[in-house]
Amino acid sequence: MAHDNLTPSPGYLEWLPIEYQDLVNLGPYNREKKPKVTDMGKFKEIIEEHPMCAGCAMTLFIRLAMIAFPNPEHTIIVGTAGCGRLAISQASIPFIYGNYGDTNSVASGLKRGLDQKYPNQPKDVVVMAGDGGLIDIGFQGLMHSWFRQERFTTIMLDNEVYGNTGGQESGMTAQGQVLKMAPRGKVTGKIDAMSLAKVAGVDYIARIAPTNPSRVARTIRRAVMIAREVGPTYIQAYTSCNIEYAIPTGDVMQDAFDMEKERYGFEEVISDKAKAYLDEIEKKPAKKAKK
């Protein structure tokens, strides 16, 4: 949504809901400098009020991601059933909420369609779905979109559980974890989606916990930019479920730090082609040569 599309005809703005007025007047669009994650609270975010649980790490990650999108006015998000969509659907970014596990197939058709319709205006397609939505029911679509080298970003909001349906184990749940439908502890291990992405030839792969907002922002930006110009990208983000994992609200961030240390450390895998592209777009202004 470009700012002029968002702006109503003269005289109408005052009749629109206050949050819409705020988006027009105080949103991230049409500014000289795009707001950063460190500016949170100082501008109207793309995401509106949301119904997520208190202390939800997933919500923090989604907010950071939306601030980080390089071009939110030309971004379309595709999601599926799960907690994430409750927040994502409150954003001023078109959100396609389809059937169970259809995200990467929908995104394939959508992205190719948008590329054809707007050959001169890059449209960024971002899949944001849960671990179950992608690795269980959406597995086939996920893998094939990678094999086909579809140019969009897939972000897995990995809370290691089916949160929205009440706490059942998923393919991304760790071995031994006791959850609903795993009354004796999950028998098999967490699916190694990172390795699957590597095998499938994904150009940018990152595993991240939301412990460092600027790093989250950089990772999102890299993934979206590489998807635009090079090939498929994948971010696997630890976004704990404090309800099903009984993490006290005040300890959610501590849990993220602990998990990061234990088994969810930051990892980036970048293909040569993507690396060359990143070098090009992230090149710092040349410093004075030292002698």
């Binding site: 030309h74 659907s89 396609i96 909420y97 389809g98 058709g109 959508l110 190719r112």
Partner: protein, 410 residues
């Protein structure tokens, strides 16, 4: 092997896609005025020629017999530049989801499948109408497993009937050609904005040859305008900003009951509004032969051809039999059938499926509007052909005092 022929074709810089050389004409000109030439081709080839003239932006499908014959030809059209984008999807859930995605981008989208593939894609297919995605689904009918078979049988259409799609059912190669082109135009009307399925009976139509009158291939239908739509394209170019929040769709738990109810009502109202376009582009939603006959055959698809022959052979015996060809299953030509059958004494419904879904439609729509007895057949299924003799036998039985098919139990 050293002389490997593996390659990915690069189009030369001066390549002009086929459809860039075609001239856009209005649907009215294309369907009613443009001169036509007759050719003798298979149904799959007829579909290909319809696609060539339909200005299609993307075609996505997964191979299945008997559909694959058509969709691999769509691949050649893509190679010639008559289709903008094309790929073989991972399977039908992927196919039907992807084509829903491309339609949301605002481009003209085509897919096709058959029996088991339709079943596999059904979750995605049944969500298209609610998402108000204009697109065309070609459905080359085939038995649904089990036991495994690839034979023609249109039982799968019964699963589409209440999904909210517009459903056309073609009799022959000419219909497959005409209905496919018309389907795009019907689908994209603002007051329709719905997917349209064009079903034909597999093999009988797809793999057999028939006469098809076609317009010149340098003509094409106007392109899709994704914003001229009841629900505009999801391309992030349309206010209101929060499409999911401000418009009453895609809200799951948050959608109010009455909002969801009215959304459903609107989908089915839109199928009814499509009727005027079907009447215009297809020259009527029904075709009636011998409207004053006491005995009427009501049929759709390939069963119409056998019924035509039964009408002709009956007339040679000096017996007048009528025929109503039903071109659309959704919207169902309720008013037209009630009018045509108000004085009819007996109705037979020949079908290519075990269930008798057309019989059920006819019964429920004519109940209270005719005194005619409605026979549950004749029907063939599992891949059988329907000999004209079978219809003639049923007609003869119907002339007896107490035909067996009106006896209880049947």
């Amino acid at each position: 092997m050293s002389d490997s022929k593996l390659y990915i074709k690069e189009m030369p810089a001066d390549w002009v896609p086929g459809r860039d050389k075609q001239k856009v004409v209005s649907p009215e000109y294309m369907f009613h005025e443009a001169p036509r030439e007759q050719v003798f081709i298979t149904g799959s080839e007829a579909a290909r020629e319809a696609i060539r003239r339909s200005n299609v932006d993307i075609a996505i499908s997964y191979p299945i017999t008997p559909q694959s014959e058509t969709m691999q030809q769509a691949g050649y059209l893509y190679d010639e530049g008559y289709i903008g984008e094309y790929y073989r999807a991972e399977e039908e859930i992927g196919t039907m989801s992807a084509i829903g995605g491309s339609s949301r981008a605002g481009i003209r989208s085509l897919t096709a499948t058959s029996g088991p593939g339709l079943m596999r894609g059904m979750e995605a297919i049944s969500s298209w109408p609610g998402a108000r995605t204009p697109l065309v689904l070609l459905n080359m009918c085939r038995v649904i497993n089990t036991p495994l078979a690839i034979q023609p049988d249109n039982i799968e259409m019964s699963f589409l009937i209440n999904s909210g799609l517009i459903m056309l059912h073609g009799e022959n190669q000419q219909d497959f050609y005409d209905y496919t082109m018309a389907a795009f135009m019907i689908s994209e009307q603002v007051d329709v904005t719905l997917p349209v399925s064009v079903s034909v009976d597999g093999f009988f139509v797809t793999h057999a040859r028939g006469n098809v009158k076609m317009q010149a291939d340098d003509l094409k239908l106007p392109p899709r305008d994704g914003w001229r739509s009841a629900v505009p394209a999801m391309d992030n170019e349309n206010p209101p900003a929060r499409i999911s929040r401000d418009a009453p769709i895609q809200k799951s738990n948050f959608i109010s009951y009455h909002m969801h109810a009215s959304w459903q009502q609107e989908v089915f109202a839109a199928t009814e509004r499509a009727k005027k376009y079907i009447n215009n582009y297809l020259g009527g939603i029904v075709e009636i032969i011998n409207p004053d006959a006491d005995v009427m055959l009501i049929a759709s698809g390939a069963a119409v051809s056998q019924s035509r022959e039964a009408v002709r052979q009956s007339s040679e015996l000096g017996i007048k039999v009528g025929l109503i060809k039903v071109k659309a299953i959704r919207p169902f030509p309720k008013a037209e059938l009630r009018e045509a059958c108000k004085n009819v004494k007996q109705i037979l419904v020949p079908e290519f499926n075990q269930l008798g879904w057309l019989h059920k439609e006819v019964c429920s729509n004519l109940f209270g509007f005719t005194d005619a007895q409605i026979a549950p057949g004749p029907r063939v299924y599992g891949g059988m052909t329907m000999p004209t003799e079978m219809i003639l036998e049923w007609l003869e039985e119907g002339r007896k005092d107490k035909p067996w098919f009106f006896q209880d139990p049947f």
